[in-house]
Assembly symmetry: C2
Homo-oligomer: 348 residues x 2
Amino acid sequence: MPELRKDPITGRWVIISTERGKRPTSFAPVPRRADAKMCPFCPGHEDNTPPEILAYRKSGTEPNKPGWTLRVMPNKYPALVVEGTLSRQPAGIYDKMNGIGAHEVIIETSDHAKDLVDMSDEAVRDVFWAYRERMMDLERDRRFQYILVFKNHGEAAGASLEHAHSQLIATPIIPRQVADEIDGAKRYFEFKERCIFCDIVRQEITDRVRVVRDYDAFLAIQPFAPRFPFETWLLPKAHQSSYLELSDSEVMVLAQAIKDSLARLKVALNDPPFNYILHTRPISREHHEYYHWHIEIIPKLTRVAGFEWGSGFYINPTPPEESAAFLRKIDMEELERIEKKPAVGKDA
Amino acid sequence: MPELRKDPITGRWVIISTERGKRPTSFAPVPRRADAKMCPFCPGHEDNTPPEILAYRKSGTEPNKPGWTLRVMPNKYPALVVEGTLSRQPAGIYDKMNGIGAHEVIIETSDHAKDLVDMSDEAVRDVFWAYRERMMDLERDRRFQYILVFKNHGEAAGASLEHAHSQLIATPIIPRQVADEIDGAKRYFEFKERCIFCDIVRQEITDRVRVVRDYDAFLAIQPFAPRFPFETWLLPKAHQSSYLELSDSEVMVLAQAIKDSLARLKVALNDPPFNYILHTRPISREHHEYYHWHIEIIPKLTRVAGFEWGSGFYINPTPPEESAAFLRKIDMEELERIEKKPAVGKDA
């Protein structure tokens, strides 16, 4: 059983995930670049994964058999486990709880060779729709406080399999970074009686220098104080605290916006490894007025990680005004060529 | 001029370091494994670096010439610059200030082939003594709030040159991670009227399971809720809020403790890339009662960085009780063999 432990100084929770079972001798990187014949996420290999929780499939096809275009199942190596009663306990001066949570994998396409940027708008919409479906289901579980959706693309960004997939972790605590955003947004709201994210959207539309693209309902920006070069935020322009407030038609616009944002980064930075993380309101509705959901895309370009981990102090060599100008100018024809040609040089 | 910018939501400051001048096309990793003939940190190449601020050298030798055993100079590519008057400014709803600070490099030895674990106890003591000397000098600068000392070892941990060195950054703000520790330690003190770090030391000595080694004045532990496998903390057992409270004789014990801790990690994990960071009290003395300086050593073993960056939520596959047991059992003879033989397979 994994365990959640709280750092007694900062209050940050970590997962001690014994099920993943890394021992001192097992830290050598394991290359897992599998071709479609070996890939556990490819059609025909459904029995290599736990049974599916959700799938979008051709009518008449059976669960856990080919015929799907998107598939969600529990992670085979879960960081948290779904069975059990949540139990907080002391350990001397320390605090811990058992590692209760959900850890799911969303296989974004049946095509081993495709990424989000190569997929049709409708297929990308289905991915963002599936996030919604799974979040709505898991929000009913009273043990959870937060549902975190994220994608690792490329080995350097932590992806262990190259077949395009996202992950979802439902947790009995609010992740530190989100808690920091909530605290800050709340302080701003108490002072200004306005949502800080809405104010950011307004200022960025006025300033224009950090806007990558305006997608009507959404805005892609390079934030004012980015930790990483080419860090990109995608925000709904109207106030929405939870991702679940997104309307049916907005999901399609979001899919197009994500595809365009990722394609620009792919062209600008030669298909970089990246992570994106969906920051939404915790399951509790109390933060509605001042929290505002958004997606943070972080290309992994620099190696300056270790020092930053220990200090929380980031040195970013690229001003966001420069990266925004660069991304705005990406040749749209080149983007279209990417969409039409089969993916090559995809990293594992 | 670099710029400090504040994230308007979380209040986290970042350095936008334009002087380092990374442009979209310049993110390919640059291998800088230089042999002693080319190394700018080797004796005889003193004119490849800015003039020295401090050096420990044989009597009779001249500044910026060979004859030194340890040398401190400004970083040639500084993240912050030392000249100028600190000026906080608004930028619409945002906040920024000019990038005033000090950024220094401590060359730990004149020997290109040596690391801290290969050096004599006296030479390691000199390194930790030099940190003290530079901190005492920089604390007099009223523009600074914090002095951060850290070491990157190995390319994957962010070291761009393999010749053993540490760095020091004096900043006009308190780094996020330290600020979080101060806030948490203050809350604990208000509740318990005791230092949380002192309580951790007491509990770890009682529990024993997470202790790597007890060095009399210092304790090496695997913390209760580590973010990373084999994350190691070294704490003074008696309450000291600032690194500058360390007595002369304690510096020697600290040097031996650091050497032993790093040697254990080197043997256990096959010379891993690592960072260590010295967390001390901010220059202001107000946090004396509840803050407690310590060194955090973070081996870079896992690739799970990107997602954690975006969530602040860490998944650690190695329980600290297991890594502590492993590190306690490291064969002391093997440690001694390492000390005696020349360094091999050292990574850049």
